[in-house]
Amino acid sequence: MTAPVLQVKDLKTQFFTDDGVVKAVDGVSFDLHPGETLGIVGESGCGKSVTALSILRLVQEPGRITGGQILFKGTDIVTMPGDDVRDIRGKDIAMIFQDPLSSLNPVLKVGYQIEEAMEAHTKISGKVALSRAVQLLKQVRIPAAESRVEDYPHQFSGGMRQRAMIAMGLANKPSILIADEPTTALDVTVQAQILELLRDLNEETKTAIILITHNMGVVAGLCKRVLVMYAGRIVEQGPVEQIFKDPQHPYTWSLLQSIPRLDADRKDRLLSIEGLPPDLIKPPRGCRFHPRCQFRIERCFHDDPTLMDVGPDQEAACWVTMRRALARDGEARA
């Protein structure tokens, strides 16, 4: 396997608020390989967006990266001078957000904004920039791209705006594209198109994609590998087929059991995860999931598990793991 383009090591990002220190990201480590599609899932507030923003050093006050390393092709983004980070942003690592309307400038033409994104990093002539903008819009499958470059963002529909954002993200042929909930604000039919587009672009351009979402189905459709986050930590990671078929962390397992599926017949009850997501100012002692975990044992209350191998290339942070939990339940029932 090739060397990873991005290595996140024990990343810690905290927000110093009036109510206390929010430990939004608390020791996250992962590798991203060239051309890989990596999904980050978890419910809202578990630290997905802050992880992404930390990678580009875009965390806002009162937030700060307080520990760890983010190695992009070997150099640490965390300690890099500000100018160098700005160079990386948009050129090597591009990011697209949930709400495409608020990330586009309403008074500038879409084409102009794409050209701007290119000219921020490389000197090119206006003509070249324009033809490249048209080409990019074609690449993200916007019909009649030649005339659409002249449009303003409000003349685009929601799905087209997200496509334009993706085009901007791809303008400098980045090695990594981070997409934070890129389809959450869109209708399902449009979501399906955007996901298909991302999949095709990944194959065509070999850009690695980090896809952040709370929707398990979206990950299933696009990603090869997945990280499951809970309360600022990665609780499970591995190849997508394995995680979906054989999840080992009770949170992953419960999440998959609790969502109604289109292809399943009507069941009487959904499995529900009781309780609330934890407060990241005072996360629970021991395993952070223990107040909501139906498989916990004595040890879970005071001992904090770390990621352990639970299968080929698959890791989970759990003392019990589903394999044992389900076997135990089987015994109990027998």
Binding site: E43, S44, G45, S157, G158, G159, M160, D187, V188, T189, V190, Q191, A192, Q193, L195, E196, H214, N215, M216, G217, V218, V219, A220, G221, V240, E241, F244, K245, S254, L255, L256, S258, I259, P260, R261, L262, D263, D265, R266, K267, R269, L270, L271, S272, I273, E274, L276, P277, R292
Partner: protein, 331 residues
């Protein structure tokens, strides 16, 4: 299937229309000549893309918005003809659960006062008895009864939605319109609310109109499903039937777009592509409103000049498409 044909519907909408003025004499045709029934005890799902008129239809049924034309019969009484005190009295039987658990609770009122308000409005209970009832309602929706003097901002989204549900069932209504009650909630909380709504339905014989854009949820909770497109209902059928055997190209496209949380299945599925996006409801397309995006449209005739009626295609299965028989193979 809970529906018994002889049974009288709880609610019947006839040719309901809602247009909003949009300046310069134009209007947003949010709901256009819609007809349907809801039978006692069933859950009807209402799905469709953003802006297709689901919430508007929900608000018309609960009479939070006046209709432009058409009639809505609730237990035989035409709600559109009621106003003032008579309409207020009817509200006892028709309640609503809102999408946004944050903006649907008054931040300046305690949770107890919020839940007690419907009871007070109809002078049902006073003093101690009212307090007891409020605490009982909190318990029923799974909240600690002693939180009645707390304020909404102290609760999480899921807990707030429970408060909204307690308010909606306080008057023991017959019909509850739930407008995307879980789409603003954390994934791990959604199942809690769905289960609660199902439990309450059994306990209090409630009838639901469940509005959602997530078809997987609708499939789970509904007995029947109505699919809406650009202000019109394009297909109605039993929940299992509509998923197995969609008779409208739009329904089929919608179904194929829902991602299934299973990488093996998901990688093999075929998505039905719709060209373009939902047109503006100010100037809806002629004929079949879906024709500019429909993969099997025959234009101009009949799709662009003849509006297909919502007709029975199989028992209990209605669709509005000139070529519904081709949908299973051609789309």
């Amino acid at each position: 299937m809970k529906r018994v044909p002889e049974r009288a519907p709880l609610l019947r909408a006839e040719e309901v229309v809602k247009h909003f003025p949009a300046g310069l004499g134009a209007s947003v045709k949010a709901v256009e000549r819609v007809n349907f029934e809801i039978y006692p005890g069933e859950t009807v799902g209402l799905v469709g893309e953003s802006g297709c008129g689901k919430s508007t239809l929900g608000r018309l049924i609960t009479q939070l918005l006046p209709v432009t034309s058409g009639n809505i019969f609730f237990e035989g009484v035409d709600l559109t003809k009621l106003s003032g005190e008579k309409l207020r009295q009817k509200r006892r039987e028709l309640q609503m659960i809102f999408q946004d658990p944050y903006s649907s609770l008054n931040p300046r009122m305690t949770v107890g006062d919020i839940i007690a308000e419907p009871l007070e409005n109809f002078g049902l209970l006073r003093g101690r008895a009212k307090d007891k009832r409020v605490q009982e309602l909190l318990r029923i929706v799974g909240l600690n009864p002693y939180f009645n003097n707390r304020y909404p901002h102290e609760f999480s989204g899921g807990q707030r939605q429970r408060i909204g549900i307690a308010r909606a069932i306080a008057l023991r209504p017959k019909l509850i319109v739930a407008d995307e009650p879980i789409s603003a909630l954390d994934v791990s909380i959604q199942a809690q609310i769905i289960n609660l709504m199902e439990d309450l339905q059994k306990e209090f014989q409630l009838t639901y109109l469940f509005i959602a854009h997530d078809l997987s949820v609708v499939r789970h909770i509904s007995d029947r499903v109505m699919v809406m497109y650009l202000g019109k209902i394009v297909e109605v059928a039993d929940s299992a039937e509509i998923y197995r055997n969609p008779r409208h190209p739009y329904t089929k496209a919608l179904l194929s777009s829902i991602p299934i949380p299973d990488p093996e299945i998901q990688s093999k599925r075929r998505i039905v592509h719709l060209s373009g996006e939902i047109p503006s409801p100010v100037n809806p397309p002629s004929g079949c409103r879906f024709h500019p995006r429909c993969p099997i449209a025959q234009v101009p005739t009949p799709c662009a000049d003849l509006e297909p009626p919502l007709e029975e295609k199989a028992r209990g299965h209605r669709a509005a498409c000139h070529f519904s028989e081709k949908v299973p193979v051609a789309v």
